[in-house]
């Protein structure tokens, strides 16, 4: 039996229900393949498939923003007041950024030279990007933005919303023109909890309670506080992590929603933190692109 005849017989038999079963079996095989067998090619296939859909998704996002404008536009107060409040929050963030930077410098005095170089020429590039797609099938809250390697976007680049809220980080393998962003609610973050109405400039940042926030179901975080320092609902969590570049440090991420007792450690407490803003509700974000030498 020659090869041509063999394939002719195979294809003549692969019709109807047999073909359906074959395709289903193939899909099951692909579904249980380990990541190392899928990762090298499925991502590329997905990037190719998404190309014709991106303009439609972009159009859809524009229509969505027309139908349901971003929440800020619904604020009944005078726009000037809203803008001033946002500016105040931004300056608070800048203030906290500088204080946390100073704290880091005190701790890492041995590396003063390297830090000075970074501060002197931080070279962080801020790139505005549009959200061109959200993930409707999964609850991960992933979004696609129209900025990629061509714009200098790199993995773990901080994605900023509302001026100073860390909305998420760029996932691995950003594409040439489109990148996938992992929302902050899916990341474990080191934070400090600050009063909502501002801080005492005389107090050292380490006087405020710090914790590691771990993501839990429902898009919230939970963190353990071992010290007996005062914690109140409504306190603002600011990032102290170094993993997402210097820009992310000091940014707001969430607000303390509940303070719970820690059953395992009676003297400790547990805080439940809710995000200040949802990345999937945004239409425009800012990506902080670190210079190559400063990338985490």
């Amino acid at each position: 039996m020659n090869g041509t005849r063999f394939f002719r017989i195979i294809f003549s038999r692969l019709t109807g229900r047999r073909l359906d079963w074959l395709l289903a079996g193939f899909a099951l095989l692909l579904a249980i393949l380990p990541a190392r067998a899928l990762a090298p090619w499925t991502g590329d296939v997905a990037r190719i498939v998404v190309v014709p859909i991106v303009p439609l998704m972009h159009l859809g996002m524009v229509v969505r923003d027309r139908i349901r404008p971003p929440r800020a536009a619904f604020d009944a107060r005078a726009p000037e007041v809203v803008e001033l409040e946002l500016a105040t929050e931004r300056y608070r963030t800048l203030f906290e950024q500088s204080r946390l930077k100073a704290e880091a410098l005190d701790r890492e005095i041995a590396q003063l030279k390297a830090v000075r170089t970074r501060l002197g020429n931080s070279g962080v590039q801020l790139e505005t990007a549009s959200v061109v797609g959200i993930d409707p099938t999964r609850r991960e809250g992933l979004v696609r933005i129209n900025a990629g390697l061509r714009q200098g976007v790199h993995r773990d680049a901080a994605v900023i919303i509302h001026g100073d809220i860390l909305g998420g980080i760029v996932a691995n393998d950003p594409g040439e023109f489109v990148s996938l962003v992992k929302p902050a609610q899916r990341c474990s973050l080191s934070v400090r909890l600050y009063p909502a109405d501002g801080v005492d400039a005389g107090l050292n940042p380490s006087a405020y309670p710090g914790t590691v926030l771990k993501p839990i179901d429902g898009g919230l975080w939970i963190g353990d506080i071992a010290s007996d320092v005062e914690i109140r609902e409504g306190q603002i969590a600011r990032v102290t992590d170094d993993r997402f570049g210097s820009v992310a440090r000091g940014m707001r991420v969430g607000r303390v929603r509940r303070i719970l007792p820690n059953e395992q450690v009676p003297l400790a407490r547990r805080v439940e933190v809710e995000p200040l803003a949802q990345l999937i509700d945004e239409s425009t974000v800012v990506v902080a692109i670190d210079p190559p030498e400063a990338r985490p």
């Binding site: 109807g16 073909l19 359906d20 395709l23 289903a24 899909a27 099951l28 095989l29 692909l30 579904a31 249980i32 380990p34 990541a35 899928l38 990762a39 499925t42 991502g43 296939v45 997905a46 498939v49 998404v50 014709p52 859909i53 439609l56 998704m57 972009h58 159009l59 859809g60 996002m61 229509v63 969505r64 139908i67 349901r68 061109v132 797609g133 959200i134 993930d135 409707p136 099938t137 999964r138 609850r139 991960e140 992933l142 696609r144 993995r155 773990d156 980080i169 996932a171 691995n172 393998d173 996938l180 992992k182 899916r186 993501p215 839990i216 179901d217 429902g218 999937i280 509700d281």
Partner: protein, 194 residues
């Protein structure tokens, strides 16, 4: 059935789900137009194609739903939605003879059944994957599989509701889909006039 029209409709549905669909979100349940388009096609296309057209849409859903791995790299797993849509199609096929498939309300019910079964298979495949490959984290992490089924049940209800106007609209464009229509011959006067 014209495959090009079907593929185009599926692409448009996916694009709407990924952007405009968020407007219709109630709580955390966002309806999916993709399910409506697939069910409309399953109810109207030849039976032999039903599973294949559902799997094609499922493949697209898989490709556009990357998951994030513990090392922060993205991974596209092909299969969970493909198989889910296939089983959904197998569940809807017997309903063709029970339902008047050009009635939007019966399409809404079929969409609910389709979405629910597709979601159950999706969760089951992921559970199988987690058990076989211990380093994988499911897309619904840090929730549980049961919470995901509950969430997807709400999405299935939303899909069923959205399917009623969507299928009605799709039925307006029935002519371009190229579905074969069988006409019943009537004895008597009508036949005599031919």
């Amino acid at each position: 059935m014209r495959w090009a029209i079907y593929i185009l409709a599926v692409l448009v549905a996916v694009a709407i789900d990924s952007s405009l669909g968020g407007v219709l979100k109630i709580g955390d349940a966002q309806p999916r137009f993709l399910a409506c388009v697939v069910v409309y096609a399953i109810l109207s296309a030849p039976r032999a194609y039903a599973v294949r057209i559902a799997m094609l849409a499922g493949l697209l859903a898989d490709l556009l739903s990357p998951t994030i791995r513990p090392d922060d790299s993205q991974l596209v797993v092909i299969g969970p939605w493909t198989l889910g849509f296939a089983l959904g199609a197998l569940a809807v096929l017997p309903l063709r003879s029970l339902l008047y498939h050009r009635n939007p309300i019966s399409s809404g019910f079929a969409t609910f059944v389709f979405s629910l079964l597709a979601a159950i298979v999706f969760v089951a495949v992921w559970v199988l994957r987690i058990n076989l490959l211990s380093d994988e984290s499911p897309s619904w992490w840090p929730g549980t599989g049961a919470s995901e089924v509950w969430h997807q049940s709400k999405v299935a209800i939303a899909n069923g509701v959205v399917a009623i106007p969507t299928v009605w609209l799709l039925d307006r464009s029935r002519g371009i889909w190229g579905f074969s229509t069988a006409k019943r011959l009537v004895h008597g006067a009508a036949r005599e006039t031919v």
